[in-house]
């Protein structure tokens, strides 16, 4: 029983972590907290649903097309909504991303209506396997673990060895210095949004497979994922995944003991942890210089 709680918690936590990584990549590079991330994933999932239901394409093809859409969506939002704003404040940036969120949510509601739909996903929560005796895993969790591990390794290699990854890190450290070094900072931002939207869309599909598909379905997972990202420290990608795992475990155990308060335990924990460690558990806290 206790192993099952741990496994389940880790699986959902990994999914939070994966989505949190999408939030963290944007924050890391451009200091923008993307409150529209959930709705970007939501609309990508709806596109996948539309392709599957309307044109009857095989899942892998729909997946590829959706990923292309997700990247374009991310680039679109950066190019048309964030780039034109001149020296926006932190609050201004939050309003922009919240505006994008409302816009996407309205569009999805307009196009697909508010009724709930079933998203057909090849990895189901019902089908279970027992790879090691005593350890029961469902296909969904196996998919999440594999995908999260893969994305983490790829991101590590990307940030470590590719020119673009290094350019993104440089942009994060000092935008002006990066510009002087010949990095096209705007282009780096566009790419960041594309990458983040890509990862977010994958995680959103996993969330949709667990619950139902409607224009609000990413609201709760997004807030959990965001909380997980803040818990781990928004600037450290492994920290974000760790934060997701911790949050998933806390939530699952707490939900087992005291199911009524499951939806809010995450936030209470976050507020307490932030009070003690203002920059999250795994990020370095920089003291602001005057």
């Amino acid at each position: 029983m206790i192993e099952q709680l741990i496994i389940e918690g880790l699986a959902i936590g990994a999914c939070y972590g994966l989505f949190g990584v999408a939030v963290a990549i944007i924050y890391k590079t451009s200091d923008v907290v993307n409150f529209g991330q959930g709705e970007m994933g939501m609309i990508s999932t709806f596109v996948a649903y539309h392709i599957l239901a309307q044109y009857g394409l095989p899942f892998w093809l729909a997946f590829v097309l959706t990923m292309v859409f997700a990247v374009l969506l991310g680039v679109f939002i950066e190019f048309f909504f964030l780039r034109p704003a001149k020296d926006p404040t932190v609050l201004g940036l939050i309003i922009i991303t919240l505006g994008a969120e409302m816009l996407l949510m309205g569009l999805a509601g307009w196009k697909w209506g508010a009724e709930q739909k079933d998203f057909i996903f090849p990895l189901s929560v019902q089908k279970v396997h027992e790879p090691i005796p005593g350890l029961v895993l469902n296909e969904w969790s196996m998919g999440v673990f594999a995908l999260t591990a893969l994305i983490m390794v790829l991101l590590f290699l990307f940030f470590r060895y590719s020119n673009l990854g290094i350019a993104m890190r440089a942009t994060q450290q000092n935008q002006n210095a990066a510009k002087i070094m010949g990095i096209k900072v705007e282009r780096v931002f566009s790419f960041t949004w594309g990458l983040s939207s890509f990862i977010g869309a994958m995680a959103a599909m996993f969330f949709a497979a667990r619950s139902v598909l409607d224009p609000n379905f990413m609201m709760e997972p997004f807030m959990r994922a965001f909380a997980a990202a803040v818990l781990g420290g928004l600037t450290s990608i492994p920290g974000v995944v760790m934060g997701g795992l911790i949050l998933g475990l806390i939530e699952n155990f707490f939900g087992y003991v005291w199911p009524v308060w499951k939806p809010i335990v995450a936030f209470v924990v976050i507020i307490i942890i932030l009070t003690i460690r203002p920059s999250g558990l795994f990020a370095k806290h920089y003291v602001k210089k005057v």
Binding site: V90, I94, I264, L274
Partner: protein
Amino acid sequence: MDMKRDYYEDIEIFSSGTVLFWSIALFAVLFTLPLYMPSYNIYLFNIILVHVILAVGLNILVGYTGQISLGHAGFFAIGAYGTSLLMMHLGIPFFAAIIAAGLIAALSGFIIGLPALRLEGPYLAIATLGFGLTIMHIIGRWEIFGGRMGIQAPPLDIGIPQWGWSVPLDSDVKMYYLILVIAIVMVIGARNMMKTRIGRAFVAIRDDDIAAEVMGVNLLTFKTLSFAVSAFYAGVAGGLFGFVLGFFDPFTFNLILSIIFLVMIVVGGLGSVLGAVMGATLITYLQYDLLKNVDEMPYLGDALVWISRKYFTVIGLENFNSIMLGIIMLGIVIFEPLGMFGIWIRIKKYWKTWPF
């Protein structure tokens, strides 16, 4: 021009005769409004005035003190539930109940202000967001709050019925006068407060909190005070909102509502009482009137229904509201970061210096 020559000129409520004249004209219009307005519009005006109170309070926190709150729907809910429950279960008269509910909201604002001492930007956003959601879930779970079914507001009586002195306000028009008086008092109160030591301390924290601390502004006192004052405004607004609606449930106070509150002050213009009033009026009008039945709008409505039929779904057209709100939010930050107040200032400058 608007040159201030001494301190007393700076702290005047009405900075010139023109302002005094137009303020009196506005009050006259507002107080005689029910004479030439149909009753549905009075309901709309009640909601606008409630939102004006809240927006002015939120502006104290966001516009003047520079903190971010995505949890104001929580304070709003505390006010609404607090007032109604105190009146229903303890039989407390209206004015005492609404002030008590406001103070409960202020206390929770103070508590949420404590972590805010160490948090900023996105971290503060998530902490306040978590607070709003927590409040929504708590009132959704506890039986005393009516659970998910919501509660009915008690009959509004501004007298003290237990002592045999009863002044029932049973129509929208009577409620309108009550809300109008409270709104005017609270808006002028906010405007005045920003000219005192406290208000200047808030602005100093917004501009640079470290510099403010060096100058002798106690961050602990003033940051939590800003949260508390803002929450008090939200609580009083919430208490009135409960009576305007008559019936409310926890989902009335969701995250979208917190976002809409934030939009009101950003659209109106941060750091200005007038801006908050204008923003609350415009956004409430759009939300509750113009965009509510978008398919019945002249010309545009038919076009939208046609587009819906061809590319979207007609049943989903109600989401047009959310699309417009999103576009307004994006547009205002990109094209007019100072909001409606910025436009107002530009118009004023243009006419004052006209031939030049």
